[in-house]
Every structure is written in structure tokens, then in C-alpha cells.
């Protein structure tokens, strides 16, 4: 069946089976920034924004994305003009292997869109669904708080 969605602001018509999982469809369509990790909603590597909310794309049947707005990491900034979160994640050393980064950054974006100046506790809660096995979480939290200060200016 055909579904129409908007991915990173662009209208997309996708051909999907009723039992296709959104994670697989997005990767098939070339959005390789959506990572496959645990595939059961625990690790957060596959996190995308669905209508601005961070969700695990491995737990969503693709048909449900019909008529919805999807944001993947490809929709955040460009190499020439990175999003503040992309700059602060690099500056803070919050990236090592990078596998969890797209999911963590999108969780952070959902938070900053809703609460532009969050407390540290709010940042930690927003990132609670993204497991990182390299840098740990302190630098990620610092990066999100730094991005919120940039957005303030």
C-alpha cells in the first residue's frame, strides 16, 4: 500500500506492507542515520521525531506514519550550517563511535523544541531512552545544555 508522509519537511510517497516496521522503511529509503540497535525499544538508536515527539522507529508499524511528519537526523543542519546541537555535541566530546548519536540528538531536539531552557534533570530525562556505551552521558548532558544557551542568544 501507498502512504504519504513528510520526511524532513519533504513530501514522500512510500510503498509499504502492513507489517513493515518504520525503522526498516526509513533505512530502505536511504535515511541511514536511523540506526538499528536492539530492535525492541530499549536502546534508542532508532529514535526519530514523529510530529516533533521522540519515538522508537523500531516499535512503529510504517502504515501508522501516513499523514505524519517525520524528522530524522538527516533533517538536522547541514555540513556548512550544523544545528547548534551538532556543534555542541562535537565541542563537548559527546560523540565517540557515533552509533547512538542520531537518536540522542533527536531526543535532545524534541526537548529543546518543547522546553528551550531545560534544567539538567529535564535533559537527563529526555535522554533516558538513548543508551550510549562510549562516552557516557555527562558530556551529552553538557552538550544539550550548551546548545540551549546558544539557542537563547
Amino acid at each position: 500500500m501507498k502512504i504519504t508522509t513528510a520526511i524532513n519537511g519533504q513530501k514522500k510517497v512510500l510503498s509499504v506492507e502492513p507489517n513493515d516496521v518504520l525503522l526498516d522503511v526509513l533505512r530502505r529509503e536511504g535515511y541511514k542515520g536511523v540506526k538499528e540497535g536492539c530492535r525492541k525499544g530499549t536502546c534508542g538508536a532508532c529514535v526519530i521525531l514523529l510530529n516533533g515527539k521522540a519515538v522508537n522507529s523500531c516499535l512503529i508499524l510504517a502504515v501508522r506514519a501516513a499523514g505524519q511528519q517525520i524528522t530524522t537526523i538527516e533533517g538536522l543542519g547541514t555540513p556548512d550550517a550544523p544545528h547548534p546541537l551538532q556543534r555542541t555535541f562535537v565541542d563537548a566530546g559527546a560523540i565517540q563511535c557515533g552509533y547512538c548519536t542520531p537518536g540522542a540528538m533527536l531526543s535532545a531536539k524534541a526537548l529543546l523544541d518543547e522546553i528551550p531552557h531545560p534544567s539538567e534533570a529535564q535533559v537527563r530525562e529526555a535522554l533516558d531512552g538513548n543508551l550510549c556505551r562510549c562516552t557516557g552521558y555527562v558530556k551529552q548532558v553538557q552538550a544539550v545544555l550548551a546548545a540551549s544557551r546558544i539557542l537563547k542568544r
Binding site: 500500500m1 506492507e17 502492513p18 507489517n19 516496521v21 530492535r39 525492541k40 525499544g41 530499549t42 534508542g44 529514535v47 514523529l50 515527539k53 521522540a54 519515538v55 522508537n56 523500531c58 516499535l59 512503529i60 508499524l61 502504515v63 501508522r64 501516513a66 531526543s107 530525562e125 529526555a126 535522554l127 533516558d128 531512552g129 538513548n130
Partner: protein, 313 residues
């Protein structure tokens, strides 16, 4: 990897509950409702041939009336977490239970209806709804019915719900300011699966507890009330020795199962500790609300002003 829902061929997105029920009826049990979909997206069931997406049924709401809060079946955990009226129920016990579900990206997906119908061993919301004496509203081909949370969770909901029935709403009674509550999830990490869940709701009058409701989950297949412990606490001054009695009585009553997370002996001991903590927290929260609105009538009335603490600064 096994294929997800290998026999799935149909997908429906009805626009009314009536249409949804007709479609479910015609499915003869092979079509199932799709709400948050977090368990269906992992299901390898060969029985399911059709999905009924509930997204367009306008069941994602939280409505406040004089006596109760009505929560639509497709409201998600995150909706409960940030709703002021939900936060005011029994010291925030429902809000705490919603917050105990998974992590942020799953709390944005998991629905109230899905969580109570699936009733996993570790589910938190059913524990809080039992403690709050909530009502579950169900619609099927023969009409609507309402049943108490106690009846709904007496056996697994998937066993007693007919295939053409849909949970449409959960109604939670509002509580008075002298009512406090607490929900405690015990897990290895705060996003992990529960080894135990405990909810306590009580009313504080003077030095004594009244109308105590204590529920324990993730100890056995279904959550249950600790009625003997409730009776022990009823109308008794809450002294340290009474709390110790509640703790040891809980450990005696609970007959937990073993799983990879904890063995029964450990669960028994922890259950006692958590029950004690939950009573203490519920008591402390009742005191706080009493301090804000002390002397008011216990029953909510139309003219009663809403408590305005927190979140409005």
C-alpha cells in the same frame, strides 16, 4: 529474525468507534486494535490478519470534570506525565505510574488502553488504577459497559474482553486534599522492567490512616490488593511499629514468582520494604496537601478552588 505479523494483510483506520467495532466484529478475533503499537510491532503472531488503527477515533484526551478525570484510551504516558489534573490525583500516584513506563521515546508511544489491556507482568498503570479504584469503559457490538479496575484486572483482560470490544476510556475519581498516594517501581535502572511495583493511596485524618488501598504488581501474573495490610492500617495511628508490622505482614502474604530478574525470596523481602516506603510517602504527601488546604471539606465541590501549587511559576 522471525517476521513481524507474518499473516497480516489488512489495515484499517476507522473514523468512529462504531465503525471500529463493526470491523472488529467481522474479524472474528483475527483483527486486533492498534493503539501505540509497541507490542504489535514486535509480535510474531500468526493469528492476526488485520489491524485497526485507533489513531483517528479521537480517543486521545484527558478531560477533567467535577468528580473525576476521564482519560481516553489512546492518551499516551507522556500525556499523563505532564497533565496538572492527573498530577493532583492522590499525591501524583497516577503520574508516577505513567512515568515508570519505559523511557521517553516509549512514553510517547505507549497508550493507556494498550497498557491496561496488554497487562504485562511488569505493567505499572494497572497497579495505580487498582489503588485509585478507577473505572474502565468498554464498547462492543452489544453496547457500552463500565467495570471497576478490580473486575478488569481480576483475570487477564485479554481473556475476558470479547474480540469485538474496545476499551474507550479510563475514569479516575478525584481525591480530596487529605488523600495522599505513592507509586514505587523497583528495577535495576529507572527505565528497566519492574521487579516489583507498589502503589498506596490513603486518607489522613489526624494521626490515623483511612481508606487505605495497597496494591502490589510484578510479584505475580496479576496485580493484587493487600487487603490484610490495609485492614491493619485502617483507623490506626501510623506509628513506627505499625509500619514494621505492615512490612512483615506483606512479606508473609506475597507469594512471588521467580524470573530472571529476581527470585521469590528476594521479592518477598523487598515487597515488605517497598510497602512500608509507599505508606510513608503517601502519608507525607497527604500532609502536604492538607497543609495547603486544611480545614476544607473532604468532598470536592463545585465552588472549591483548585490547589495552585507547582508548575505555574
Amino acid at each position: 529474525m522471525q517476521q513481524i505479523l507474518p499473516k497480516l494483510t489488512e489495515y484499517f483506520r476507522p473514523r468512529s468507534v462504531a465503525t471500529a467495532i463493526t470491523l472488529l466484529s467481522k474479524g472474528k478475533g483475527r483483527r486486533v486494535p492498534l493503539a501505540g503499537g509497541t507490542s504489535l510491532a514486535l509480535s510474531t503472531s500468526r493469528k492476526i490478519t488485520g489491524l485497526l488503527d485507533l489513531s483517528d477515533l479521537k480517543l486521545r484526551y484527558i478531560k477533567e470534570s467535577q468528580r473525576s478525570i476521564r482519560i481516553g484510551a489512546t492518551a499516551v504516558m507522556k500525556d499523563l506525565c505532564k497533565h496538572a489534573a492527573v498530577d493532583r490525583v492522590a499525591g501524583g500516584v497516577l503520574q508516577q505510574a505513567a512515568h515508570a513506563v519505559g523511557a521517553t521515546p516509549t512514553r510517547n508511544l505507549v497508550t493507556v488502553g494498550g497498557n491496561i489491556v496488554q497487562l504485562f507482568f511488569w505493567s505499572s498503570l494497572p497497579v495505580a488504577l487498582l489503588a485509585l479504584d478507577a473505572t474502565i469503559r468498554i464498547q462492543g457490538k452489544s453496547g457500552r459497559r463500565s467495570i471497576s479496575a478490580a473486575a478488569f484486572f481480576r483475570s487477564h483482560p485479554k481473556r475476558h474482553l470479547a474480540f469485538h470490544e474496545l476499551v474507550t476510556e479510563v475514569v479516575v475519581p478525584k481525591t480530596s486534599s487529605s488523600c495522599g498516594g505513592a507509586f514505587i517501581k523497583f528495577a535495576r535502572t529507572h527505565t528497566g522492567y519492574a521487579m516489583l511495583n507498589v502503589a498506596c493511596v490513603l486518607e489522613r485524618r489526624g494521626r490515623a490512616c483511612h481508606n487505605v488501598r495497597l496494591v502490589i504488581g510484578a510479584a505475580t501474573a496479576l496485580p493484587f490488593r493487600l487487603r490484610k495490610v490495609e485492614d491493619l492500617l485502617e483507623n490506626a495511628p501510623l506509628t513506627p511499629s505499625l509500619l514494621e508490622q505492615a512490612k512483615s505482614m506483606t512479606a508473609q502474604i506475597v507469594k512471588p514468582v521467580a524470573d530472571m530478574r529476581a527470585d521469590p525470596e528476594y521479592r518477598k523481602e523487598v515487597a515488605g520494604v517497598l510497602v512500608k516506603r509507599a505508606i510513608q510517602e503517601a502519608w507525607a504527601r497527604a500532609a502536604q496537601t492538607q497543609a495547603v488546604s486544611g480545614g476544607r471539606k473532604r468532598r470536592p465541590t463545585a465552588s472549591r478552588k483548585r490547589k495552585s501549587s507547582g508548575g505555574t511559576a
